[in-house]
Symmetry: C3
Subunit: 665 residues, 3 copies
């Protein structure tokens, strides 16, 4: 079965309402709720005094309806009594001032007193619920993140550095602290990197601080994982991450001890860093699935208009269901809507749930109820099926951290660039894995490494091995620029990949928006059209590679822009420039065709096709994200899972509607 | 007589200049000066050592010329000796850092040591001037405002909450502190609400903090009022408020102990929050008059170009006089220009007075001198006459505070919206009272309640009573959303007004600027034209109300947008959407006509008509705010007060010129 | 010889690389390197423990190649051991928080403990290198600047004020502290002026704080100068300033004890305050040369793409060389590129040097190598020749400080305005000195005083003397507004220049961008065309001056806008408005022609001509800053110095190319 449910807060509503809500959930085909992840003070109203009675009663109601329970550890919201007793656990801003109690994520993640209380509440919950038959798993905390600049974190960072570098002279040497006279003669001289002290800090220090913060959350989570594993060995453990956009933690590390990854999927809101399209949540799914290369849950699936102080427009009819099916199409085995009922009080009054403030079940509930009924029919069939990709994009949190420190070009954004590449593939209905550069790549026909800025010898070897064995690798500007210490390599770019690519970068030009450039392919299907590029141009000097395209303007007109190098049984394509959507769609489309990776199902713009495989059986999700009906031409007969009919030829898909086709009727 | 004068700072100029200035004022027809409101250190050069000699001499010069004196208590600028002795009286910013001495409004409004010195200087002034025949009244402080986040304020807020809620469990329950685990187990755990700690604070706490700050200034003023009342029982007491735009304090409360309201009217400058038109000061006058529903003073009337670090352009010839007559037209019984002479030193060197820096009397002085001469002829006739309105707009500082906490839509601004509605009426020369929702509304034919977000049962009953007795009430989106605790009501919107309106809000859509919507009336004079609406659309479900207009686009095309409900002898019109100026002008224009509230004098765009009534006699001020002459058609003969002629038919009004007509020749 | 070289950091590279770099420099025709200005911790690894061995070895390598050495005192980057031992030396921000160790310029410039260590390292270096034959001079610190708000600075400011004003009553009187009740009764009450405390501080205090900060750096430098002068009497002393754009210090004062001025010339980057054109570095040169009215060095000449976190585009072929020749053309006797090799680590990884990160000598090196070869041929001839100007622009750091405090109009910028005037002259190939208003002006035919806001009697007398003797002076709006205390003069504007100009300002109008205005000349070659003006209009009342042009619009249409006053043998032209480029080019072009100061060599747009004179011999640098070849018409035969040929008539100059012509073949 697909896990299908909501995030519910019994502590927000009168106890007499709980059973009504459970019945409404059941009527909507739901089988799971997440509970308790912000209820610390309710479970531990005073230090060491625990009270789970209310939660026991709520769980009993759900259990009675056959609805399973996922519990969240409540450590993202330490209680007032803890902040009052030990205000030093409150997080410190970069300017040295401390955050106030009165919102969430107010704590320093390092502080031993906060950690001690966190372990205590985790252990108390685990012991209390280990044997509860309704409980199936745990979510650690909620949306880990936020940097702290307190003295405890500074001291922790110094210890972390000592463990990493062993000696100060090693650190000084590798950081290049001699620059601007920053050589340290004692570990406790090392500051936290400051962006508000005028000129910038040492980039190696700044990168390591981001690594340290990430490791801090990983070790904090590890303390909870160990308690939960030992006390509740039969429960799963997950964490609700913030998708591809969030770049504060190394999610590969955070995912490691989890049974599976969860994430919170809000396709539409004000906070997005770049223009949002239906490809954006698709990338979120691919990146979150890629953390462990396995199916995942959406622990918070958007349920209505969202926003803290202000709202965006309401999702149009069909959109919530389409978004939720998109999650499943990309490998979600659980879809949990946030939240059940819109809160009447507190900071998220306008982050709407499925029900209205007054408890009414309206348009949004009805739409999800329809989906619940559908899943009761088809869920068992789909469950366990997995996406299969022949194409991979490599993503690296180390590169993201490095670009946070030095953006390279004001026009460049790593996430935006990766999304641009992903979208070019998504438009062709190509399934893509977004994975770590350290994984085994042998199953992929095409691997793209966008701006893989920090490059280790281990990764370089992995890429060489992949290409040598027949893979096609696409390398881009700003790849291989830095070593693991965020220091520029002492060799021509792309550094450790220069030999693999058979090319070196002679010069680069960070194009300001007033400058234009384009490239032209020398031969093949792309020959003859000037493709606009922008933001960054590497001027290439082939060292054995074949030149595919050259620049057309400025002093480097005629100089190589794209090269291809045969290496072993495969080839490495160096794209020398960032570019327009047109550029990426053309070049990647051509490469897919050359490599024989084209999806057999072509769809009109805005209609996505996404597959999950069960052995030899494929489920094709066709999602119409446009506001009008679209015609889909099927190359062969399929069974339409949702209405259990056979379809073939041209079929019409209503606006925002969803088709699930399967090859084996 | 109309009180007509200037704000004067004898302490800024050589004593030998004082008599020259007084004579120039007299020559300009002036009869009042405000003095001393920033002169604390001059009156109390060291703690407890008072020196009023200089001020006595200045007052004597004015008294000699027959110019009356209003004194300001100087508590907006505590002296350096006080800040040095007790730096803890300095205001604290939200990040915990303290403001520096060296500007104005540097003090915490709560601090007992500041309050003690404020009472002391107030008492010393009051005793010294109680019997001075020149002194006619007092201004408390100057432009109260500014929040403080110091420990004294935090402790005061905790006490304020304790008095309001009695028990912590009551507060926890009503605030919904269980959200994000914020339940308090001790009063001193309660923080000040922080907007710089990441996620937002509890909206109930945030609203109450604004109430507390407002109450703090009210009680601070009350300490001065009590001293002044008991010591100077024959003097009036007022305060110079900052008009409609300022939203930091509940001006209804602040106005209560005053004899009349004053305000500082700067129609033109850089700091305005939305586009300024001639309707903007008109709204300022209406809102300030509405605080006590009686005539008022303009204590600072713009006298030239203004600005602190930078200036805006200079008021064109005629504009200063027109602005000043507009004040009188709307009910000002006093017009005091800020300031007499442009300061040569200090932070307001570029906030120009009537005279230039070098003391020259130039174009601006001459213009105001002309007005002074006019007022000497006509002032007695006008004085005491009062505006009379059949239309009211309800404004609520509680709603404004709530929208500060949660803006609902980034496109929405309460003040901008209210100004939009006011302007639609102003363009039709309709006199409007801007009043509290708690006042007796029985005298109004039409009452508009724009976005009355926080709604108490008392107000709901007042509105029902009004409609039941025959009134017409216009209700808008975002009305009745919250209870007094800033918690969303547990019933369909518009909550406590749902029955009165005979309608409920099924769904709402916070339109982003890329989305368009319009409505169409089903019948009547507006039928047939699609009126553009924006920012917010309520989709209505009539519960007895008649549908007047429906949406035309998107998934709720055809759904009700405007309804009318007969209730008792009156009716409640629910406008389901915010809209363009065109929308409001059409709908309000239609309602005015239906209700028979149309002004008989129609004027070209940019020409305002405003009335003051003395018994059965009316004074019609006609103000041409355009840069060209305009033709006015009089429906009947009038006396032209300014030149004492009879006029009728079409008369021409020069650019920026003013007509004062009276019905009884 | 022209000093030609690079900024080099031996401490950043393996010792075995040093000789390779020295040979590459020699091959590029270089004869000077700057060393050590950020190497404090390398020279003094622990307090009082000095180690110059490494630097001795590096210097020896350069000396061996005949490359001279300039040493920087390293006080812009105090070591970690000093920040750890005495964290109170770290600079304090305006909000009271302290900057972190870990970047440069982290220190308070006043702190006695920092100053003591700075004197110590300076003395140690001076003693060690006094007799080193390779060392020719010293650079003090690096790019002085940055305000500190610590208690030591506050106390120092109070002492500085006491020395300046003698008594508190004098200060109170001159500052007008009575405004907003700020009168001080003790010196230690005086705060640092705050811009984050709500309303603005006293402008006199704010100006004096800027003077104090400037004096602090001047006295700090003086401590180094005295040590260096006494220990190394044969070495020159300079400082690398930040050009015309930097406005934090009074560079006239800072330049006084130096042998010559140096500055850091980065024509292209993100940080510029206004649109950059080839005239921008020209103005930088003129302003820096004007500090001492003598030739100068460029101590850091841009060597490639620059930026900290992000880069701008790469300088096109020929541009680096053209920029460097422009420096020489304007009087640079030294051109030192920053930096030799692009750093692999530290905060300036993307501030590119001549060599790439990997040490490759590519396009940029080759271009500068060509220039080095040219200079080896022609350097001796040019060296010592000096620019000669008949036109001067007066610049005043006091005016700049005053405009920082009060910008007058949001559209106005002093630096932008001065650049606009400079550019209008530059386009006509007119040599301009940018000098202090206190210098002897008798050699100039035309002097322009743009917005000389703060005017002392001394300067007013200097300008009168200049005009009386036959000079032409151009005076503009916002001149003579303030006295030395930043207090508005007690007389009509232009205050102390009113008599000289024969005019007074009746009114002014700070035009907002939505308002337009233009002027029209009454007769002469400019008559008949309306010239657009903007931002500020003075409405003039002639007091003896002749009216040249009048306004055309608004209520002051027909009122005088430009006047000319005969005064002694000269004349004072008052330009009543700021304006468009067109306006300034027209008016200044006409004045140049009238005064007979037109350059004989006219060039196409984008081609600059600049002269250096050696007795009667002139070197004409012709610089093509366009991307296409340009035709230059020579009025007479010249020798082309770069290829030693005779040229005459029309000659073509390639894109970005440079001609050096000399009149004496």
């Amino acid at each position: 079965m697909i896990n299908f449910g909501v995030d519910y807060y019994p502590e927000h509503w009168p106890e007499e309402r709980w059973a009504i809500d459970a019945q409404l959930m059941l009527a909507a085909g739901m089988n799971v709720v997440r509970l308790a992840e912000f209820a610390w003070v309710k479970m531990e109203p005073a230090e060491g005094i625990f009270n789970f009675d209310w939660l026991d009663r709520a769980i009993e109601i759900f259990h009675h309806q056959g609805i399973a329970v996922v519990l969240g550890t409540p450590t993202a919201s330490p209680p007032a009594w803890l902040a009052q007793k030990t205000p030093e656990i409150l997080r410190t801003r970069e300017d040295g001032s401390r955050v106030s109690f009165g919102t969430r994520r107010i704590n320093c993640p390092s502080h031993p007193l906060y950690r001690e209380r966190s372990r205590s509440i985790t252990a108390a919950m685990a012991e209390h619920y280990a044997a509860n038959p309704a409980v199936i798993g745990w979510q650690t905390d909620n949306e880990f993140g936020d940097r702290c600049f307190c003295p405890v974190c500074r001291a922790g960072f110094q210890i972390w550095l000592k463990e990493r570098y062993g000696t100060l002279s090693e650190l000084n040497e590798r950081f290049g602290t001699i620059f601007w006279s920053q050589t340290y003669s004692a570990w406790d001289q090392i500051p936290l990197p400051s962006t508000i002290s005028g000129a910038p800090p040492n980039p190696s220090l700044a990168l390591d601080f981001r690594r340290f913060v990430s490791d801090t959350y990983v070790t904090f989570q590890q303390e909870q994982v160990e308690i939960l594993r030992s006390t509740c060995p039969n429960h799963f453990i997950t964490h609700d991450m913030m998708g591809f956009e969030y770049d504060g933690l190394d999610y590969f590390d955070l995912a490691k001890p989890l049974d599976f990854v969860s994430w919170n999927n809000y396709p539409f809101g004000f906070w997005h860093k770049w223009a949002h399209t239906p490809a954006s949540p698709a990338l979120g799914h691919a990146a979150m699935r890629g953390l462990k290369n396995k199916n995942f849950w959406v622990m918070e699936q958007q349920a209505g208009p969202t926003g803290w102080q202000t709202l965006s427009s309401t999702p149009r009819p069909g959109v919530l269901r389409r978004w939720a099916y998109q999650s499943i199409a990309h490998g979600a085995d659980g879809v949990v809507f946030f939240r059940w009922r819109t809160a009447r009080f507190g900071a998220e009054q306008y982050w709407h749930g499925l029900l209205e403030h007054d408890g009414r079940a309206g348009r949004r509930y009805d739409e999800i109820k329809q989906m619940g009924a559908e899943l009761q029919r088809i869920g068992a069939e789909i469950s366990g099926a997995e996406p299969r990709s022949k194409v991979a994009i490599l993503q690296s949190y180390e590169a993201r951290f490095a670009f946070q420190v030095q953006g390279n070009s004001p026009e460049f954004g790593y996430e935006k660039y990766l999304a641009q590449i992903y979208t070019a593939l998504w438009k062709r209905n190509v399934s893509v894995d977004v994975v770590s550069p350290t994984v085994d790549l042998s199953k992929y026909g095409l691997v793209i490494a966008p701006a893989l800025h920090i490059l280790t010898e281990e990764v370089a070897a992995n890429l060489q091995e992949y290409v040598r064995a027949g893979g096609w690798l696409v390398v881009t500007p700003r790849t291989g620029v830095k070593d693991v210490d965020n220091v520029v390599v002492n060799q021509p770019l792309p550094g450790l990949l220069a030999e693999l690519c058979g090319v070196s970068v002679d010069e680069y030009d960070a194009l300001t928006p007033d400058l234009s450039q384009s490239i032209i392919f020398e031969e093949g299907e792309l020959a003859g059209q000037a493709l606009p590029v922008q933001t960054w141009c590497d001027i290439l000097a082939p060292q054995g590679a074949e030149v595919l395209a050259c620049y057309t303007q400025d002093y480097y007109a005629g100089k190589p822009a794209i090269t291809r190098n045969q290496f072993g049984l495969g080839q490495a394509i160096y794209l020398g420039a960032f570019g327009s959507d047109v550029f990426h769609e053309a070049v990647l489309g051509w490469l897919l065709k050359e490599k024989g990776l084209v999806c057999e199902l072509e769809t009109p713009p805005g209609v996505e096709v996404c597959e999950r495989w069960q052995g030899e059986r494929v489920f094709r999700f066709v999602l119409n994200s446009t506001d009008s009906p679209q015609l889909i031409r099927l190359p062969s007969a399929h069974r339409n899972l949702l209405n259990d009919t056979l379809v073939s030829g041209a079929i019409q898909l209503a606006a925002n509607d969803v088709l699930i086709l399967t090859s084996q009727p």
